[in-house]
Amino acid sequence: MALGCAAMGCLGVHSVAMPTTASRHRPFRGRVTVSLTRDPPGGAEVGVVEASSVTTIDEVIPELVERVAQLGGNYARIDRIVTRYEWVSQPVTQSYQCGTFRFPNYCTRTYMQQHEVATLRATGRAFRVGLP
């Protein structure tokens, strides 16, 4: 998976954060609470966030939390984590011996190889709880 993605340049976590209110806040520097099941009581929603990657939750969730903090939120409410699978083709170049014992030679050939790539996507909302 990572090999296939490295060739396509899609490694890394992609994320977006979008404020949903007119007011803007400074990035929050403290500890951000994370929940996948509960909205914060008394919290004010300040934006929506999304992070996706071909890796696993241990890279995607911290990125999502960072985006929440950038919006000034101190509570990350994750609404959904889904994994989508798709088949991608990539060229693979292979070297092989094509000469004889007396006249050794190396040849290369390129062929298309298919990989199933899993993309993990987490979406959620940023809240401010107990902050002015």
Partner: protein
């Protein structure tokens, strides 16, 4: 390739699968427990009193790319974090990989009916596992 080699290759490939588990802590984990954490699918009704401990994920590849292995993976990860259950469990499957994610939790007001309390010495056996899911084997 001889028939013996083909048979050997097939035998070797019978075990061509792996399950990897991951977690991101969202609360304080406990000591690993031998209690079988219960697995609840997203949308299942839950006791109200629980504390989230971690987001857990299991990824199955090859012959492990099925619900059975990834659900068992999130359950094992939750047990390693001392949790009582995995809630909001969601699974996605491809052709060569499967993934399940959920929230590992601890009951804060005692376990719901039918589940042993954390720390009870319940043998870790597949027969003892309880899965609240459509694919679960009916308990005798």
């Amino acid at each position: 390739m001889s028939r013996a080699r083909i048979a050997l290759a097939l035998l070797a490939c019978a075990g061509c699968g792996s399950t990897s588990t991951y977690h991101v802590l969202t609360g304080a984990p406990g000591r690993p427990t031998r209690v079988d954490p219960r697995v609840y699918l997203e949308g299942a009704s839950l006791p109200a009193d629980y504390a989230e401990v971690a987001i857990v994920q299991a990824v199955g590849r090859g012959t492990h790319a099925d619900l059975e292995h990834v659900v068992e993976g999130v359950r094992a990860e939750a047990a390693a974090l001392g949790c009582d259950a995995v809630i909001a469990t969601h699974a996605d499957s491809g052709q060569t990989q499967s993934s399940a994610t959920g929230v590992a939790v601890r009951w804060t007001a005692g376990p719901p009916p039918g589940q042993a309390p954390t720390g009870a010495a319940v043998p870790w056996t597949p027969q003892g596992a309880t899965v609240v899911a459509p694919w679960a084997t009916p308990q005798p």
